[in-house]
Symmetry: C2
Subunit: 346 residues, 2 copies
């Protein structure tokens, strides 16, 4: 199989490494630093022009930065042979779907590798177990979609087919909106606190603001790339907040609203962990060793911790630890924590 | 010292236990289940009427549920002797400050004990290290404030004096608003996902929604009790979200906004952990033992983990672990994690 990778950085380089190692593919790279990609083993050969890289290619991956993406996809489609499957790895899919209509093109988005960049960080296992969205237009060739689907599975990923606009809305809801809300929360808290210290108020504030201010240039680009869908999500969030505010001011009961959130969260969390999970909370002294002690006791019993958060109290002497474990093992996990001398809320 | 506790549940009972054990005080309790409080050792004697409980009292704590709070504080002020300091433990302070104006009254709010209730869970160390707000009106007697301040320190808490309205705004910003936003996020995600599974998108969604749907009846009460301040915070959050949405749609650069959030978060987190912290992130196989291994390596080196979060990938085979450690030990902590064979972003 012949594969062309246009843009051989972290993602493109990892595609090349995995395709060579796992699929025995011949990989041709197009990149200003192509020699480095060859040296890294990410591609078999480096090319300066699309024509020679795409000659006889079965599939082409466009993995260039977002600002050159649309032009590059179009150029690749121009140069690609009739039967070649062309895809990209951009984090939003609506714009590329609208501007690159071709039966050989299916947009893609692997959920992997946002924090570091460069072919020197490329790894053959970057996509293992990662969701990789494929967003075929209605007129995409079935054989192209099928080939890409098989190819992504071969790279170790879990391909998921989804409409391009639905993809962008989903990313806006589960990734971009949380980042915007985290930023708003720290701004409100900074405004409310003035010179006060943040009191220890349980895990809500820490957890809700964990991603506030993440990598500013990167996230400015992510927001901008998904501006239409994120704008719609912001409209939706604003409407929801206004409804809660109005209910609050009219004295309406919010118990049902809070219950609905609990149900939604449980459903979403269960899906995320690929099985129902349950959260244990324990009050523990905040000293080195406590987290290890609890985690070790659970791991010794073969109980996997899918999520964990520790919230210190104001002076740092005590804290609450929350661990998510498989529901079927929750009672057993709680008993183990109690055995260590800590009180548990199940 | 004579102390009266009106309402002897988790908080009132813990006040009684700590006052008896640590201050050698005589504690009189007023509660329908006063006998149980005596049996628990939380009070020396149970009283059916305020008059006998408050006779000669130096201080009185009102720790009844929020719906009877204002009436009970007024009744206690009527029955209390001239020199008696009267306080309450309600979670909002504006309403009680406005309706219970008396030089002997100073509102209070300990940040402790929200999840369980009942005198059977009372503990002498419930307030150790906990922030306990005191909200004196401008005409509060200095001697009353001073006595309460000393008393709270004696119970193990860290008293913090703050204006009642500022207190309510602060709680709205750092506790109540995060809960509302978490609920909105799960509702948006549930809407965007339909029957899709939640993809593994890094820690943002899990962390931001950790408190979504927490204890519905309890939180309905908390929202309602702080409705004015929370309504104002919601107005502020809505305005901030609308500004971001407008910037997005006009194509404005959001890098500076993202940077400001990073600065605010760093400042708020440093205050919370009582010292600068730094977050390490490592990609690890998601199996029992990994968390323990990392936590143990850090604890063996005496490096305290003030916060930890593990985000699984879609299939649960790998995950990203984020740990916050003292800034001064961050390099050393990273080296230890690398030694275990995991890549670290510092």
């Amino acid at each position: 199989m012949n594969i062309a990778v246009v843009g051989v950085g972290l993602v493109g380089g990892s595609i090349g490494l995995a395709a060579r190692e796992r699929l025995g593919a011949t990989v041709r790279g197009v990149d200003p630093r192509g020699d480095q990609a060859v040296a890294r083993g990410a591609v078999d050969s480096a090319h300066d022009d699309l024509a020679s890289a795409l000659e006889g290619a079965d599939a082409a991956f466009v993995a260039v930065p977002v600002d050159g993406l649309l032009d590059t996809v179009r150029a690749v489609l121009d140069a690609a042979p009739p039967g070649c499957a062309v895809t990209d790895v951009g984090s939003t899919k609506g714009a590329v779907a609208r501007s690159c209509r071709d039966p050989r093109f299916v947009g893609g988005h692997p959920l992997a590798g946002a924090e570091v960049s460069g072919v020197e960080h490329a790894r053959a296992d970057l996509f293992d177990d990662a969701t990789w969205y494929l967003t075929p237009a209605p007129d995409a060739q079935g054989v192209v979609l099928e080939r890409l689907h098989r190819l992504l599975s071969g790279l170790g990923a879990r391909p998921v087919v989804i409409d391009a606009e639905a993809h962008d809305r989903l990313m806006a809801a589960v990734s971009h909106l949380p980042h915007v809300l985290a930023n708003v929360l720290v701004a409100r808290a900074a405004g409310a606190l003035g010179d006060e210290r943040v009191p220890a108020t349980g895990p809500s504030f820490r957890d809700a603001t964990r991603v506030a201010g993440a990598n500013p240039p990167l996230w400015n680009g992510i927001y901008a790339a998904n501006a239409p869908a994120l704008g719609d999500e912001l409209d939706g969030a604003i409407a929801a907040l206004a409804a809660v505010r109005d209910d609050l001011r009219s004295g309406a009961d919010l118990t049902g609203w809070q219950q609905q959130a609990a149900q939604d969260r449980a459903a979403l969390l269960s899906a995320l962990a690929a099985g129902p999970v349950r959260e244990l909370r324990a009050l523990v002294p905040n000293r080195p060793g406590v987290v290890a002690e609890i985690a070790l006791a659970l791991s010794d019993a073969g109980i996997n911790i899918s999520d964990m958060a520790l919230s210190p109290s104001a002076g740092g002497e005590r804290g609450e630890i929350a661990v998510s474990v498989p529901e079927a093992r929750a009672e057993e996990a709680a008993a183990l924590v109690v055995e260590l001398g800590f009180g548990v809320d199940l």
